[in-house]
Structure formats: C-alpha cells, structure tokens
C-alpha cells in the first residue's frame, strides 16, 4: 500500500475550518512578530551600512564615542588635513571636510514633543564625500549666511524644518533653503549648515570630526597608525562604515535580545496551540485511522499524513503572517539612539533571508506541534481504534 495523498490532509483542514483558522491565525501572529523584529533589525543595519562608506575615514577625539562628544582643535584638524593619503576629487580639491556636529532640541510636528536632532556644520567637500546625499528641493546654503538645508525625514517630522521655514537657535534665525534626500541613511535625520557659521552661533571654537576619502583603501592602516601615534593629536581614526555600526551597537543588541526572547516565548504559545489542534484532530478521527490501518496503510504513512497536515497549518500561518508583515515596510520608526542621544529613523526592511527564515520557522512550529499527535495516531491498536466509533 502506498502513501496517503496530501489532499487527505488538506481536506481535513478544510472540514474543520474554524479550528484551522484559529490555529493558523495564532501562528500567523507569531510569524508576524518574528518577521517584524527581524525586519526592524535589518532596517537598522541597512541604514547604518548605507550611511558609512568603507573608503571614508572619520577622525574624532580619542575616547569619544561619537562626533557629538568629540572636539578637535583647529591646529589638530590642520594636521589631519595635510595627510598624504587623502584622495583628490574631480575638481582637483582634496576630499576632506572639517565638520562640527551638535544636537539641538526641536519639537515634533503634530505632537509638539521635543527630540534631539543632529545638526552638522559642513565644509566645501562634505557633499562630495557622501555621494548618497542629493539635494532634491531648493539650493545649497550660501557660505557665510544663516542658511541651512534639512534631511527629508527631519523636514517632515520637525516644526520649522520644512522648505522656506525658519528655526531659531544660537540667537539667530536660520532659513531652510533646501531639502536633501539621503535615502535610508542616518543623514536623513540631520540638518546641515555652514560649519563656520554654526561654530560661531554655538560658540564652540572646535571641530567635531574630520572626514576624508582615502586615495587607496588599503592605506587605512598606515594613516590610522600615524594619526593615532602623533603626540600632538590624541585622535582616533575609524572607517566611516565601522564608525556608524559602532554607533548603534547598543540599539542593535537591544533589538536582538528583545526579538529573540519574544520569538521564543511566542512560539511556545503557538506550538501549544498547534499541538492542541492536532491532538484533537487525532482523537476525533480514531475510527478513521483504524479504518486506514485496516485497509493496509502503514504506520509510517499515517504519521506522515498527520505531520503533513500540521506542516500545512504552519505553512498557512507563516504565509499569512509574512503577508501582514510585508505591509510594515510602509512604516518608518524614528527613535532616539542611546549612544548618540539623537534621533535616528529607519524603516522595516523585508529581505529574502527574512522570508525564508520566517517560513522555516513556521514550518518548524507546525512540525513540533504535530509530531507527538502523529505518533500517537500511528501507534493505535487497529482493533481498539475500530471499536471506538
């Protein structure tokens, strides 16, 4: 005798629709949460990976964790600027920018709740160093004026950061003359202005960081060693990509712990749900199973039939959960990064890896929930099973 056809398992699920919907619904919610957490972590990672370029180097004060905490005297910045490893841009200028980064407290649109926004004083080459940043509306600020440009995310979320609006800080009014799009990067959560103007306004006569492009990526070790061993400097050089992933280490770890604990707990609940359903499916069909055995189906095919049924449950649940989770991509999460104290926005991102991980996860839930009841079904005594109906 051969295998029990899959349509048997499928029709069983269809016959007991309410139970199937409830069980698969529970699983769908679990997969939804599982996928949502992974999507959040992937979104955060994507934002950070795209923010930093591998060939750019960020120099900040030794022991400072971020540009905001750092301070580089003008003299020190000049030494960094003169390093021979710095690349030359298309117009012949050297690709290096001395920047100043501070936080300002701005109220959000709608709720009016204040949040910290990073404001970056840029140099001539800052745009060239970040090809992912494009001006989409308006124009660049004129050097020496109280003009700023805002990231797309910031201009949408904060009062006074829209095109043509003004912000008040440092005893001056600053006009937003342009909006820039930096894609999914951290720069979208920033405001940019002329560095000399901002330093004056904030009365901070020091730079926060010096950023430059390497002329040859492999020379990083060389320039790092020279800068860090210079007794006049006491500075720290990092690749920009490393700098940004260090920035959100704490957040990424938090998401990971949170996500894992939630998934473990939730999946326990869903496995229990599947188990209850499958046990009931078995005990409702004792007579039927006996008949199948009497017809000559092997124990193995009966086990297989019930496991297939349970896997189908998992499949339905997983697909439904992923379907709902895919709509999360429309949402942007903006929250404070604890390490920099500033606002960081990132979106839920669905990757192929998350799709297959979620599906495997839901199939495992279905399998674990179904294996014990299936074994029970297979180990029934034929005669007794036939007698019960």
């Amino acid at each position: 005798m051969g295998q029990i056809p899959v349509s048997y398992s499928f029709r069983n699920l269809f016959t007991r629709r309410l139970t199937t919907v409830l069980t698969a619904g529970g699983m769908a919610l679990v997969v939804f949460v599982f996928a949502a957490v992974l999507m959040l972590a992937a979104g955060l990672k994507k934002t950070l990976v795209e923010t930093g370029s591998y060939d750019n180097v960020v120099v900040i004060r030794k022991a400072a964790d971020s540009e905001v905490q750092s301070g580089i005297e003008r003299g020190q910045a000049a030494i960094v600027e003169s390093q021979p490893e710095i690349a030359t841009g298309v117009d012949g200028g050297r690709l290096v920018a001395k920047e100043v980064v501070v936080l300002i407290n701005l109220p959000k649109r709608g709720s009016g709740k204040p949040s910290n926004v990073e404001i970056r004083g840029i140099g001539k080459e800052s745009m060239a160093l970040r090809p992912q940043v494009r001006l989409i509306y308006g124009r660049m600020p004129r050097p020496g004026s109280a003009e700023i440009i805002a990231g797309k995310g910031v201009s949408k979320r904060f009062v006074g950061a829209g095109l043509g609006e003004t912000l008040h800080f440092g005893m001056r009014e600053w006009t937003v003359v342009g909006i820039f799009d930096a894609g999914n990067t951290g720069f979208s959560s920033e405001i940019w202005g002329d560095s000399e103007q901002l330093m004056q306004a904030f009365r901070r006569p020091v730079y926060s960081s010096v950023i430059f492009r390497l002329r040859d990526s492999s020379e990083f070790g060389l320039v790092k060693a020279r800068l860090e061993s210079d007794p006049r400097l006491s500075l720290d050089a990092r690749r920009e990509s490393k700098y940004y992933s260090d920035q959100s280490e704490l957040m990424a770890k938090f998401l990971r712990i949170m996500g894992m604990s939630l998934t473990v707990i939730f999946s326990l609940g869903a496995i229990i749900g599947a188990m209850i359903t499958m046990y009931a499916a078995v005990s409702n069909r004792v007579g039927e199973i006996g008949t199948l055995r009497a017809l000559g189906f092997k124990r193995r095919s009966i086990t297989a039939a019930f496991i297939v049924e349970s896997l189908l449950l998992g499949l339905i649940g997983g697909a439904a959960g992923l379907f709902i989770a895919s709509f999360l991509q429309l949402f942007t999460i903006s929250t404070m990064n604890w390490q920099t104290f500033s606002e960081l926005a990132f979106t839920f991102t669905l990757t192929f890896e998350i799709v297959w991980k979620s599906m495997v996860f839901s199939l495992i839930m279905g399998f674990v929930g179904g294996v014990l009841p299936a074994l029970r079904a297979a180990n029934m005594n034929i005669v007794e099973a036939l007698r019960t109906s």
């Binding site: 309410l18 204040p114 949040s115 009365r203 939630l262 869903a270 209850i276």
Partner: protein
C-alpha cells in the same frame, strides 16, 4: 451536581487542559514581563519629585551653562536650594562597563536628593575630600567596591583617566530610586579642566533646583528662563518629571512597539484558548443535549461551558502571575545595563488577572452561545 461536573470536566482531556493552562500561563507571564519593561522605561520619571526643577541650555542638553548663573538662580523668589552637575558618563576598566557618573556640587546635591541615603559619617568623609566619590549599593556590589577603594574611570566626554576614592555607599529610600549612580565633586572635574581645556571650565551641564512648594514650580521656571532670555546661553527650565519624560518620549516608538506586542501575545493566546473551547464544546454536543433533556436550562449549560473556559484561563493566569517574580529577577540580573530599576508593579498583576479573565470570556462566548442555542433533537442526532 453541576458544580461537580464543572470541576471534573476540564480533566477529561488532561493533556489538552494542561497544554491550554500552560499556554495561558506563558502568555500571561510574557504580558507581565513586557509591562514591567515598559514600567522600567519610565523608572526615571517615577523617581522624580514635584518640587525639583532642572535648568538646562535651551539649545539642547549637550550645551553647558555658565557657572555664574548659580548665584542668580539662587536669588529667584521661591527657590529653596540650587545645585549643579555635569554628566560625566565614563567607563570602568573595560569599555563595556558603562558607569552613570555625574560631577555634582556635593553638599547641595545631597540636600536636594534626600532619597540617596548615606550614613552620616560617610557623608562627612565624602564632603571633606575633593577626590572622593559615592556609589549606589548595586553599583558597588557589581564591581565589588569597598569604602576606601581607589577607583579609576575613563571619561568619554571628558577624556583621560580620573581617579577617585570611594568614601560612601548610598542606598535608595524608595524602590524607584536608582541605586547604580556614581557621584563625585564638581570642583575636582573643574580644576582639571582649567588646566587641560580652559574653554570647558566653569561650565555647568545643568542646574537642579528645589522650590519651596510644588505650586511655585511654574512661576520659578518662568522667572529663571525670563532672566536669561536673549543672553548667550538661554535656558530652559522644566520640572524634573518633564525633563525625564523628554528622554522617554524620544524613545517612545520602542515603548509603543512593546505595548503593542504585549497585546498581540494576549490575542495569540485568545486564539489558542478559543480553539480549545470550541473543540471541547463540539465534542460534547451530545452531552449538552442529554443535559437539556434531563431538564437543565440554558443558564446551567452556559455556566458549565463558560465556567470551564474561565477555570482554564484563570488557572493559567495564576501560574503565569506566580512565575512573574522569578522571571523578573532573572531579567533584572541580565538586563541591569539597560534598566537599573526593574520592579513588578502591582498594577501589572491586576492587568494580568484582567487579561486572564478576558481570555476566558472571549474563548467561552462562542461555544456557550452554541451550546445554549442547541436544539435537543439536533444534539442527540449528531454523532461524535
């Protein structure tokens, strides 16, 4: 008779009842834990007092205020005591061991924060020695510090190694008082800044102000901010609660997500429990018909189905609630870096019980309705 049946019914399918109870217990447990995490988020807010104000630079918290404001703020009417502090941060031995260190004006800071309880002799020793520091009991335990120990912190905002002598270990007056703080003399920080980076010296991170009466808070805030309006460093004065809340609200998205997830877990378990009850009721349709034939009315049948549903969910809820405390202790030890205060609030338990009740009710409604509406003949005709 009915009660006996009610008590016996759940045990007819021992495995199923056990699984359901277990499922509800897990759900209630995670609901409780998630609520506690949200509570821990707001711990700083809870700790704040109605008579304390915080004055910071209006641009943002990273900009300092001149020390010269101290005398001016002290003279504002309604102000009882003023202290000032600089957030120091810093790490101990390893970059991972982050310390919540603050440089404070020691005498006034201890006056304004009476919930940091320090034995009088330790307080005296701390005030006398400029290089001394105090630490919360949790912090001291974590790094095995004893009074008299030399402690070296590495600054990230104020670079370099900073040496301190531990002169006191404080305990919190209330459960919400953070016991992982590190405080040292503001003057010690300032003197060194005068030598290394003079432009950062004589600058204060924020002022802490105690007002005479809570009702004066608004008036005093307005007076202080008005005084420094249009100066080089404008101020923003708010109650300590608003100050703490502003940090929480910046991470609001995460709090909202956790809240949401805590409800999702209840919905998941509702589906599981509803499923159990739907199956149970379906299996017993014949039985209900017999009971009806014997003269039991709809109300008794309803009690039977509903009672069973409630019994299962409430047992689960009770187990879950009982497990909340050991689980919270475990989380406390694991996540102490993130949450210095991690206590299970009483409201959380009430909400647990309410959630258990709701799960029971929702799971029971549909099967009950079906059992009550059942026509005897249909019930008897049905097999299995």
């Amino acid at each position: 008779m009915l009660l006996k049946l009610l008590l016996k019914n759940p045990f007819r399918h021992k495995l199923r009842a056990l699984l359901t109870v277990l499922g509800v217990a897990i759900a209630i447990l995670s609901f409780g834990m998630l609520r506690t995490i949200v509570g821990a988020w707001y711990a700083g807010v809870e700790f704040s007092s109605a008579t304390r104000l915080v004055t910071r630079n209006s641009i943002s918290i990273i900009f300092p205020l001149p020390l010269a404001y101290y005398e001016k703020i002290r003279q504002v009417e309604g102000v009882k005591e003023v202290s000032y502090a600089n957030w120091f941060g810093g790490t101990y031995k390893d970059k991972k061991n982050f310390i919540a260190a603050m440089a404070v004006e020691p005498r006034t800071a201890l006056d304004i924060y009476p919930e940091f309880v320090l034995p009088p002799d330790q307080e005296k020793a701390f005030l006398k020695d400029r290089k001394s520091c105090i630490a919360g009991i949790k912090l001291a335990r974590r790094y095995h510090w004893k009074i008299g120990d030399q402690i070296t912190l590495t600054g990230n905002i104020f670079p370099g190694d900073w040496e301190f002598v531990l002169k006191g270990i404080y305990t919190g007056k209330y459960a919400s008082t953070p016991e992982d703080q590190f405080r040292f003399h503001w003057n010690y920080l300032n003197e060194r800044l005068k030598k290394t980076t003079p432009r950062r010296a004589d600058q204060v991170g924020f002022y802490m102000i105690e007002v005479k009466k809570p009702e004066l808070a608004a008036q005093v805030s307005a007076a202080i901010d008005g005084m420094f309006k249009n100066s080089l460093a404008e101020t923003l004065t708010e109650t300590e609660k608003a100050f703490e809340l502003s940090f929480v609200s910046m991470t609001e998205a995460i709090v909202v997500a956790i809240r949401l997830v805590s409800f999702v877990v209840i919905i998941i378990i509702m589906a599981v429990a509803a499923n159990t009850m739907a199956m149970t009721a379906r299996e017993r349709i014949g039985e209900y018909a017999v009971l009806k034939t014997l003269g039991f009315g709809g109300r008794e049948i309803a009690l039977l189905v509903f009672g069973e549903s409630l019994m299962l969910s409430m047992t689960g809820a009770a187990v879950g609630m009982a497990l909340t405390y050991p689980a919270a202790d475990f989380f406390k030890s694991q996540l102490s870096d993130y949450f210095p205060v991690f206590n299970v609030a009483r409201e959380t338990l009430y909400m647990d019980a309410a959630a258990g009740l709701i799960v029971g009710v929702v799971a029971g409604i549909f099967p009950t309705w079906r059992a009550v509406r059942l026509r005897i003949a249909d019930g008897l005709r049905r097999i299995g």
